[in-house]
Amino acid sequence: MVLQKLDSIVCSSLTAQGLPVHFYLPFLSYGIDCFRALEMDIMRNAPTVKLPVNSYGAVDLPCRVEDVIAVGVPVGGYVKNMPRRDTLNPLKNVDSTGAIVPYPDVCQIPYRSMFGWPYYSNGYLSITNERGEVTGGIYGYGGGSFKFSYQVFKDRNQIQLDDINVDHVMLKYMTSDPSSCGCDTMVDPRAALTVKNYIIWQYFLNNKKLMRAAPEFERHYISEALRLRGRMNPLSKEDVVMSLREYTQASIKS
């Protein structure tokens, strides 16, 4: 995939404004701010990692995580995402020796766990498809599993799982710090003009003599950011057609 260096966008902004290299550092600082904001709001760079689950069902978060998008378990070539819940106990359970141990299992309601997949299927009813999605048909039963869930505890820098019968989880997270390895910061070429407009807007905004013109450059930036949002929309004609076909079924005509 073609990517553009942030350095080249900064140099392009300097050229556009006729400024010397003495403005490189502030321009780079503005560019990084914009890059981070775009990663959060529009670009949504979301890496996925496989993380081990410890003895009490918690997963340590990697240092680059800014927000958790999804937590799931690998099932063949698929990932089954867990629902998020907010009632897990944030305090760790310790035994008499001070070791951290899992809380005792109190969720013993069988009809609830029956709908969980793949670990709580009772084996008698075929209620899920090959990807573990509930297909319906069991009338009067609640759908989904309450047990198979997680909660993020930022103060512990951990994810606590409700079910500890898994060795690893797949974590999809958001980060805006992709170049912490000391490499060049690479920007999607579709976002290059947005970053450049942001840099120029900030240059005007932080210059006492030029700040009157800043609102005009702010408008340029906003319009370019909106255009970028349109460019980043992944929906295609095929997606729409497949979505319609997926939920169209033959039925008896009355």
Partner: protein, 209 residues
């Protein structure tokens, strides 16, 4: 186009009548003053350019280039000493452009003095996008890394300074100033020599009785 000797002799001639001996100042002294006045005018011109037009780009005549400046180790980084003190301009623009001698397009990033420590705490920014930055201290450039320890060591640098380095010129080399600056240079030198233009006297009939 004038030369250093030509403009200095002009100043000497103009100043000669104002000295009691009629000799005027030494030519060497005037040459030195000429260089000082030129640098002062360059600074004035540059600052007024920035203030009024927001134009940061200097005339090529203002740029003096020094090549093969040796890089020396300095604590955990490296430094290079400029042969001429740069003129004082905002953002350290007296030093216009610095690059390795054998890679002129790969510029070093100028930092305001004391900025390196502030930037160091900021992720991504402290990488300078894989460039190397420097701070200006007096006539020394302190780099953020040791250039001699790089995978491809940089042993010498080229620096461009906004200064008219007359000392590097021969007496009969063309003086690197625009033609419209010649008169202000002469005026500036004469002013430094204490030569004043004769003031116009008002013809008052009372003075003649």
């Amino acid at each position: 186009m004038t030369t250093l000797v030509k403009i200095s002799e002009q100043c000497k001639l103009l100043a000669a009548g104002h000295y009691q001996t009629g000799q005027g100042p030494e030519l060497a002294e005037i040459k030195l003053l000429t260089a000082q006045v030129i640098n002062s005018l360059f600074k004035l011109e540059k600052i007024s350019q920035i203030a009024t037009e927001g134009d940061f780009n200097p005339s090529g005549l203002m740029i003096a280039t020094y090549d093969n400046i040796e890089v020396q180790p300095y604590k955990d980084r490296s430094m290079a000493t400029l042969p001429v003190y740069p003129i004082s301009l905002p953002r350290g623009m007296g030093v216009w452009y610095v690059s390795p001698s054998d890679d002129l397009d790969n510029f070093f990033v100028p930092l305001i003095s004391g900025m390196a420590g502030i930037v160091k705490t900021q992720s991504i920014l402290n990488n300078y996008e894989n460039r190397i930055a420097y701070e200006l201290r007096g006539n020394a450039l302190i780099f953020t890394v040791n250039l001699l320890d790089l995978q491809t060591p940089v042993k010498t640098i080229q620096a461009q300074e906004l200064v008219s380095d007359v000392s590097a010129l021969d007496d009969y080399d063309p003086l690197p100033i625009p033609p419209d600056m010649e008169e202000p240079v002469i005026e500036g030198v004469l002013k430094l020599l204490g030569v004043r233009k004769p003031t116009e006297q008002v013809n008052n009939p009372k003075d003649h009785g």
